[in-house]
Symmetry: C2
Subunit: 221 residues, 2 copies
């Protein structure tokens, strides 16, 4: 009986310069050595409690990042996806603010717009597309996009994040109503003065109990 190659891959997503980007790094071994690919690695049954722990470990070892939000995407499998043989990858996706990626200072880690990816090994293009679909869809009815923002952000900034993900402008009043309804943010006593020759915006942060869990709406937006 043929063996099964069992790995985890992590789709690490962030929003930078108005565009959703995925973190890729150069593979350090065959197959596809020196090709940009998703951070991934073998499951270690001796050390990993489960595949989620394996994904956390792989992400930490390969990028230095610990993501507050990590969710299982799906499992991709089959004979054709890896030249070494029949393989199976349990994929997880993470959303982080761009500063977190930059703060770890890994020169081999690079960000790439998800719309213009080329030359990806294995079935990584398909996996990334599935992750992007999931994120965009989930953004349409949940607070998921807050994980793309840093510790403190303004409502106009958060709205811009939603608009990029959904690909369309959102009504300001409706948007604020929804966020109010989610009840996950609290104002910080202090305002964002920096940018502006205009009225400064209130800074908000996630309430503690929502650092790792999201709020969903039964309606859209």
């Amino acid at each position: 009986m043929t063996d099964i190659i069992a790995t985890v891959d992590v789709i690490l997503l962030t929003l930078k310069e108005g565009c959703l980007r995925v973190a890729l790094l150069k593979r350090d071994r065959e197959p596809y050595a020196n090709v940009l690919a998703l951070p991934g690695g073998y499951i270690h049954p001796d050390g990993d409690a489960d595949t989620e722990a394996a994904a956390e470990r792989v992400l930490r070892e390969k990028t230095g990042i610990v993501s507050p939000y990590l969710e299982q995407l799906a499992t991709f499998s089959g004979r054709g996806r890896d030249p070494r043989g029949w393989s199976l990858s349990i994929c997880y996706y993470a959303l982080v603010p761009p500063e977190l990626i930059e703060s770890v200072g890994r020169p081999d880690l690079s960000l790439h717009p998800v719309d213009t990816l080329r030359g990806l090994p294995f079935d990584h293009a398909r996996i990334i597309a599935a992750a992007v679909d999931r994120v965009k869809n989930k953004s349409s009815y949940s607070s998921l996009p807050v994980y793309l923002c840093g510790d403190a952000f303004t409502l106009p900034q958060l709205q811009a994040v939603y608009e990029i993900l959904l690909g369309e402008p959102i009504n300001k009043v409706s948007f604020r109503r929804k966020i109010e309804e989610f009840d996950i943010l609290e104002p910080i006593q202090g305002v964002l003065a920096t940018g502006g020759a205009h009225r400064p915006a209130q800074l908000y942060r996630l309430k503690k109990q929502y650092r790792k869990c999201l709020s969903v709406s039964d309606r859209g937006l």
Copy 2:
């Protein structure tokens, strides 16, 4: 390095006597021989194109059923879930009308209400709970429940299915508006006369192009 046990499990769900039920069968080998469990089995890298094909094969071999709708649920993994060691199960769920299960005539296959399951082996209770959550949630915004109906059904019957899954009565007018909006049904020229000392209802069937794909709404219900 320890080996990984890689299997697929299938959560076969149906609606019978006003209650969502899962198909279980007695395990024919250790561990947990003779205990009721989900249909499952090892992945065959030599024969299965991918895990979905493996799930289809396992379902067919163990129950004789070929389900039009089969979707990946999630992958469950870890050291504690199988006494044989670190294991990993890619789980798929299927929705079928009860007649399909009865038509295959497997006496070892039995249906059990998902609310009152006891004594399940491995982490099957958790897996089934996840599948039920997924089905109920997806039913709130999609045409998924039609797969629980047979080839022909009336709108009041379909509404009853939705109401059982959602656990609450639905407004008749709104429900019909939604189904109309999905645009997946076509009337059959003939009416359901059987039940009744009352006006018979129009029979509908799924349009051909929706036999294996569902329609979703961006709003609820």
